[in-house]
Structure formats: C-alpha cells, structure tokens
Symmetry: D2
Subunit: 319 residues, 4 copies
C-alpha cells in the first residue's frame, strides 16, 4: 500500500496519520472524502501528527481520541490541551477488530511469543489467555509495526494486527476476531489549524477543554451548571491532570450541539467567564449523524426572542 495514494499530491494537501497503511488510524482517514487522492503522511505518534499540522506540513491529522473500552487517549487529550489554535473538523468511528498473523508455515498451537501494541494486547488478552495460555507478550509501537516485526526478527512467533494486514505483508492469518469485546470501537478526530467553522448540521458536537478555578470546592458542579442551565447535554467528560501537582485537573468535554446554536454559544460564554483557561476545539458533525435532541425552550428562537425583549425594555418600549 503506497504511502502517497495518488500521483498529483499537492504538498499543502498532506494528511498525517499514525501509520503505516493499514492501521486503524489509516482506516479512519480512509473515511474522509477530501483526503482522497491527497498525500498521506505516515507518522509514529500523535505528537508528530500534530507537529505536522502546526508547522503546516499537513493540512490535517487524524488522531485517535477515545476507545470504547480503554477510554480517552491521554496523549491526544494532553496534546490538544497544550497546543494552541487547533480545530477538530470531524469525528470518525472505526470498529476495533483484530486478527492474529504469523509467518507462513506457523501453526497456532506453536505460538509462544506474541508481538502486540500494548493497547491491542489489552483488548485481546482474554482470547490469548484462553487459546494460548502460556504465551508471552512482546510490546510493539503500533499494530502494523507488530506485524512488520515478524519479517524483521525471529523473537516473536505471531502478532496481533488489524484485519486486512495480510494484503500488505507476506503473512498468514492464524485467527480472526480475536478482540475480547466485539462491540469495541475507536473514535478518531481530524484536526487542523484554526479555520472557519463548519456549518451547523443539526447533528453536531462541540469540544472544549476547561480548567477549574483553583481552590474552589464545588467548582466542577458550577462548570456543569453552565451546561445544564442552558439545556446542553454532555456526551463526554474526562479529567486529565494539568501536570503541575496532584489533584489539579482539566476537563475534556464534548457537548451536543454547534457553537452557532444559541444555547451552546451561551453556555460557552458562561464557561469562559468562569474558567481560568478554556480552549475551544471545534464544532463538527457527529460521527453517528444523529440529530441533537434538546428541549424546545432552549431553541434558537427562544434566545432571539429573549434578546429582543431585553432590548425593548431597555429602550423603554411597552412590554
């Protein structure tokens, strides 16, 4: 699989992703229409991917942000929290499915050392325990690297890899669907430098990262009230240490709705006034395309009407 998918690649139209081709991240990027026919830069980690975006080497990077089993991807969350002027353009879901591969001629029962990325290993651990109880784990830096390593050294007998890997490497599949959780899914986001907002679609999500005022008991409650008093639901809240001391956290929050929805805009104003540091990461269509539901009293028209009312009474007009 070529790293550059097309001949006519324009260098301002590079997309970075955790490679090589065939990884789950590659599968996520494969869902992006505007990335087709462009240059795809394979990188080693989320830091490199975002560096490409910041420096302008790539117009966007696809990065994993959350796994339904493993939780938030700390490296991604921390990078988004500390690198300014990034924007999420969209989110993409990739089912987590694994195969066990080996060099041709290997028999499943003879496998002893399994090369696997630690996260992949955690998600296939039960299968491996049951089927290969005396196996040993050799960690790899990516799912594809685990497979590739089989061709380079003789330490591992098999590797945990994404489906389809045998199309790219001279390996055979010993078992498929070896993931412990058949409904597992990883959520990816396409990240760019600050650009104009995508139009609201009615099925949008807004991501922010906010810190709490220091030494203020109950301040998380107060942060959440900014959303509840405007009828804005959260689809995600995760805490991450700020890093300067134990007990100091920032919160990664996904809200249902678009910043151009009045209730979301009003909630963000409340958060901005409250939080010593808040980052707006973008409003973008939800991967599931499900329309956001909200109580009618939080509709745009209600906000507009209230502003008109206030303007009128300040002007001294009859109510």
């Amino acid at each position: 699989m070529p790293e550059t998918t097309d001949a006519a690649a324009d260098p301002t139209e590079s997309y970075s992703y955790l490679g090589p081709a065939g990884t789950f991240t590659w599968k996520a990027l494969d869902q992006v229409p505007q990335a087709r026919g462009q240059h795809w830069r394979s990188v080693n980690n989320v830091g490199e991917a975002l560096d490409d975006v910041v420096s302008g080497r790539s117009v966007a990077a696809m990065i994993a942000i959350e796994n339904s089993v493993e939780g938030g991807v700390s490296a991604t969350q921390d990078a988004l929290a500390t690198i300014p002027n990034l924007r999420i353009l969209g989110e993409y879901l990739v089912p987590v499915d694994f195969v066990l591969v080996a060099r041709p001629g290997t028999e499943l029962d003879r496998v002893r050392v399994v090369n696997a990325h630690p996260v992949a290993y955690a998600q296939t651990h039960l299968w491996l325990e049951a089927r290969l109880p005396s196996h040993e784990h050799l960690p790899a830096t990516s799912n594809v690297a685990a497979a590739a390593s089989l061709l380079e050294s003789g330490i591992a007998d098999a590797a945990i890899a994404p489906p389809g890997i045998t199309e790219h490497f001279d390996l055979v599949q010993l078992a498929e669907h070896v993931g412990d959780n058949p409904t597992a899914v990883t959520r990816f986001v396409l990240v760019s430098r600050t650009v104009e907002l995508p139009e609201p679609t009615g099925a949008d999500k807004t991501s922010i990262i906010a810190e709490l005022p220091a030494d203020h008991p109950g301040s998380l409650l107060e942060l959440l009230e900014q959303f509840s008093t405007r009828g804005v639901n959260m689809s995600l809240i995760e805490s991450r240490p700020i890093g300067d001391a134990l007990g100091r956290y920032r919160f990664i929050i996904d809200l249902e709705g678009h910043v151009l929805d009045e209730r979301v805009a009003d909630a963000l104003l409340g958060v901005r006034r409250f939080s010593p540091s808040v980052m707006f990461l973008g409003s973008y269509p939800r991967a599931d395309r499900l329309p956001v539901e909200y109580v009618s009293r939080y509709g745009d028209d209600v906000f507009t009407e209230a502003r008109d009312w206030l303007r009128g009474l300040i002007a001294g007009e009859p109510q």
Copy 2:
C-alpha cells in the same frame, strides 16, 4: 396642608398618593425632589393610584410595597403583576412610627374604642393591649382617615395616626411612639408608565415578577439558578397566588444591580427563556444608596471579554 402644594401645577405633572396629606405615603412622596411644587393627587387605594398613572392623569404614583414587619403589600404586588407597562422609578423608606390622638379633652385612661387602619392596628397591638387592655378596634381605611373620623362621628374615642397629624387636625396627642417595633420601616416605590431607564448608579435594584412553568417540580430552583449562576443576589423574593387555583404562584423578586449591568441583563435573558411570563418592573437606585457588591468574575468586563472571545473563535481567529 394643601393637597396641591403649589399654584403653578401642571396637570401632566400630577403625582398620586394614598392620602390625605400626612400619611406615610405622603411622607414618602415628600422625599422625591421632582415632585416638589407639583400637583399631588390624594387617592384612596393603590388601585386608584395606578389608574391615575395608566390613564395619564398622573406622571407617577407613590405606593407602599413592603413593610419590614407586615411583609409585602399584597394589593401593590398584585396590581404591579397585572397592569402592564409600569415602571418603578425609585424606592423610598419611611420609618413606621405612630401616635395615639383624640379629641381635645379626652383622657387616655377613658379611651375604649380605637379607630385604626388594620395594618397600623397590627403594629400597635402590643402597646394597646398593655396600656388599654379593654379597648376595642374600629377599622379605618387609612391612618389619616382614622384620625379624621374622630371629628365626624362619636363611635371612636381615639385613633392611631402618623406623627405630625395634630398639625393638620384639631386633635391632641395622647401618646407617641406607640408602635410595637421601633425599627419598623415601610418601603415605597414611585411608579410611572414605561419610560427610559434611569442611568446605573452602582447602587441599583432591579424588580421583576415571574411565573414558573406549570407542573415542573424544581422549577423555583431553576429560576433561582438563573441568578446564582451569574452572581446576582436577590434582596427580595415573595410569592403571590396567580389566583386561578391553589398552588399556582408568581414570584416578586428584587435583584441587586441594574439591567444595564451585564450580569443582571444575562440573568434576565435566562429568566425570560425559562418563565412563561416575566414582567420587568424597572431598575432604579436603592433607597439606602449602598453600592452593590459582587464577585469580580461577574464584572461587565468579564462579560465583554467572553463575547469577544466567542466572536473571535466563531470567526476562526487564533485564540
């Protein structure tokens, strides 16, 4: 004391008050600089006073709204809740002090029937019980009417009246300071038709009347959160029945601050979006002229900065 204080009275410059001259309401109106030298219309109750304002007979009416002992004046609260397009221009405090008066020649120990407005009677009841244990109460329509009645009929022997009443009537004072609560005070408001807002002074109050959404447990809590999440304090909250059924209330609320203060404006927007019916009664200087205190994170600059931030991120500017 003449009902019209001056010769040059212009009919568009009438002020209505619960008369006659000498009542507590008259004393409140006497604190209003712009009313000096104008025509003062003595009326019999708050309904007549507000009728004068609505019809244009008077530019404003002084009406009692709350007593520190007796509580809110229901008639005033209900009138303000049901007559549209009224505005409070200012508030005025009058200490509640009473004297006992009688026809010349009356001895205190011979007093048996005491004429008194019911509210005044309630506030002098302990003194009367102690000093005149066998007295009877004859209700009057106002404090001054109680005194005036002594000159018209022989039923009552004495009357509870405001200090200074003997300057206007041929009566003698049998006792002074007969009020049970020496710190009692009545709060009056000067009410006009909708006009432009007074400028913020930094020591302002904003009055509203709001109904709650029907059949929504916890909706009072939600109403109060509109204020607490913007750092707006309430100096008054009173419930009044809407009148259509038991258990349905509207709330009379005084907020600290002016509608041109950002935090107050934002709270009013929240109330407007939430409440099926909200009336703005005005922003006006507090009687005590004490500056409103609020936490710095609710300052106007914080609101302005947050709006600028939101505008910038919507426009795609670097954060």
Copy 3:
C-alpha cells in the same frame, strides 16, 4: 345557630374558630368529624384562637392559612412562626362564595354603603364596581360581623356575607355569587398542641417554617436543594419578614409527603442542619386526598436498602 352545638360539651373538648357561626371558618370546622357534638368557641381573630390552644382552653383551633386569590394569611403564618409547639392536624378547603344582604325592604339600586371585611371586599370589588359603581366601603372585622352590623347601626345599607347567613340573621339576600373569582377557595388548618403524629395515609402534606443563614447569598437555593435532592416536591413556599429588618425573611413551606416517609425525613434532617431556625408544624392528610406522586428511586425501600448497604460496608461485609 348556637355557639355550643351540644349539651354534653366537655371543656377539654373545645374547638376555637373565627366566629360567629356561619363564617367560612365555621364551615371549615364543620368538616371535622371529631369536632361534632363538642363545644365550639367563637373567637375574634387568629391570635385568640391560638391562645385558646396554647392555654388549653381548646383542644384545637381552626384557622385560615391561605386563600387562592389573596394568598397566605399573614397573621396566621406569623403566629405559627412564633408560637412554639403547635401542630397542624389537618387541612380543609372552603369555596369562597359571597352574597349581598340587607335589611328587609332594601332595594339593590338604593345601596350606597357596603359593609364588608377587607378581604371579602377585595374579592367582590369587581362585582360591586360594575353593579353599584358609586358605592362606598365600610370595613368590618369579619364576614358575619359585616352582616350583623346591619342590625345594629344605620350607617351601612348592605353587607357582603357568606351564603346561608340569612338563616341566622333577619336579613334578605339582594344578590348571590357576587365573588369575582368563581373558583376561589380558602384553605384552613386545624391546629393543636404538640401531639403524636397522624399515621401516614399516602396523601399527606408536611408543613415547616425555616429561616435562612444570615448573609449567605444563594442560601434559598441551598434550602430548596434539600428537597430536590430527595425528590420531595413543595406545594407551597411563601416568604414572611422576620420583622427585625428589611430583607430578612422566613419561609413557610408545605412539602408533599409525611415526615414518616423516608425522603421527607431525610430532607428535614438536611433543613435542620442548614437552617438557624426550623419549625416542624406537622404532617397531616391533604385536603384533596390525592396520593403523593414521587419517583420510585425516592421510595422508602431505597432508603432502607442504602442504609443496610452502608451498615454492611462499615462492618466489612462483602458488598
């Protein structure tokens, strides 16, 4: 109508009420099964009625506490707030309906002076304005006193009185249903000295009066959270001035449920811990006998189970 309804009256079985016979309060007391055949003491005001209870002259007193149009009865609320060790045993509703009565031979069109209790006058004002536009109001101390006065003096031409009054007085009815609000109703409570609680019926109400911590912005919100976090609805909240200064209030609150309901008991514990002064006025059957509705997660079993769970984990038992 005799003041004592029966020969065998036992003085420890007196019931006090705002008389004389025929008043709305009398109609409320008439709904009380255990009062039948006992001595009924007619008194002049709520203060006397409660004095009878405190002194032991009566086992209970029937007093008006709220009117669907006029709101809470301040005198009752303030008396309950300041007299210790009273308990509400039950509540009773009486429709507010009025007739206009006069001495025999009086013609409606000739009526000029109308004797009426101020509250009754407020509730018939629109009818009187429309039908007798030039009438004058003479205040009375009770609805029945208004009627009785017609027989004693010649000042008033007619009186506003409760239906049925012509059975007790030699008067004729000039008009019926003269009340402005046909759905108006007054709520009465039967008050006793502290006694054992009535059993829960599933359709109960609990009344308390609570003060807020001084100088604590948002403390009303915190009080209400004691109820909302336990799924306890309020059917009434009214503020009354404490009386020592403007801006200091106590709150009269009716809760849905019985103090022996776990969620209500837990909420009262929360209020007690929070409030500098809270009075429990009783748990008693609702006048409308409607079962209290609440979310199942606030059921007694949920509270019991949680306590068992906590006890177990403190004891180190497996969870």
Copy 4:
C-alpha cells in the same frame, strides 16, 4: 535484592507488587510498616497483583493508581471497578525520578536505542529529545525490566530506570534526574480483601466508583450534588468507560473524609440511592496526613443533633 525480604515469611503474609525489586511500586511498598519482614511477591501487572489478593495468595497488593503527569492508571481503575470486595488500606506517594543506565563502558553520546517502559518514556521524552535527538525507543514491560534487558540482549544501548537500580544490576549510570517534570509523583494504594475499616484519623480519604443512571441528562450534576449538599469535597474525579458502548462512563471519586464521618456517610447514602452501581473502595489515611477541612455546619455533632430533633418531633415531644 532478594524477592523475599526475610527468612520467616508466612504465606498468609505475602504482599504483591509490580516488580522486580527497585521499581517505584517496590518503593511504595517499602513505606508500609506492616509489610516489613514479610514475603514480597513480585508480579508483572496489576491484574496479577489483584489476583493474588482475591485468591488469598497475598494479604495485600501495592498498585499504582495515579500519576501527577500521566493521570489515572486505567488498568488499576478498571480492575478496582470490576473486582468485588477489595478495599484500599492506605495511599503512598513516590516521587517520579529517573536515571539513564547502560552496560559498563557505554558512552552517553553513543546511545542510539533506549529501552523504556512507555510511561517512563513519556516522562523523559523531552530530555531524550534534547540530549539524544536521534535515539529510538524500545518499549519494556516495566522500568526495571528495561534495565534488566540490557544484560540479556544487545538491541538497546541504554535504559530509563529508577534511581538506585545500579545497586541491583551490573550497570552504570549515564545521567540522573532525566525526568521532564521534577515535581512528578505517583500515587499508589495498598489494596486488600474486604476487612474492617481503619479508624478515622481526621486526615482521611474515601474512594468510591459510581455509575450514572442511564439516559439521564444532568445526572453527573446530580451525583456531585450528593457531595456538595453535605459539604464533602472531592479530591479526585475521573471518568472511565464502562466498556459496553461509547458514551457510557463510570466515575472514580476520592472524597475528603472517612465513611465514619457523618457527612461522608450521608453522602454515600445519597449516592447509593441515586446510582445504579456504586462500589465502596475504602476509607484510609491520606498520604499527606493533612487534616480534612470542612465547614462547621457539616460536623458530626450537627448531624447527631438533627437526628435527635427529628426523633423528638416524631415522638411528639416539644420542640
């Protein structure tokens, strides 16, 4: 360093830890007085450590739960959430400090491949980038395994390891304090099977894991109110996916105070009634031994007094 510290080891007195000797976990266990002179079982991961506890092979296991830079340790949090009947006995802090070690004779400038546990690599990444810009990372399963690997294979030139490692292995130190964050610290907990609670010390922490009711917007807010309405502060809140679907989380929460503190017990009752699943992980002394501060109105005496009051009024005693 011997795996068993003493000759007289009793198998019921084994302590499990992520080994081998010298790891940060070993340093944490070294702070536990009752573990001295007992058998220390070196295991490979948190799963094995907790298996030892559940099976009874060890009386307790020391496991890392949070890092001030990297955040919560997902494996530990998920294990505690899914294995019943575990109890935290205490918490221990270990500063995160690293050295770079190599086989004797290695020069720093010649190092190309660095063996390091992924978490350790993340915390020394900036130092390595600056000092060894062209290095490559080889992942290891633990910090000590990274060092040990140098003696077994020739792939890596150096390893990131804890200070003191050269006392146990025939390696030399190329650089010390190579951690990027000098204030970084890891928090460990000592976990046992359910036992009786440690006595409150006044400087305690209580750990729970709670799920939220499904499809209930604002339910996190409601969970947090269980604490705020009882004056209980949280020192930690982290979300972890439940694992069955995206968007379903459980919350790991540390509260200030002991379950035998009334306010904590009452809050736990509230959580139990609210949450479809709550696990109590223990009350234990804080590592920093700082007394818990709380507002006096949440003191034990206030809770006791309120219960006495409620009991009295239910019994019909005078208030």
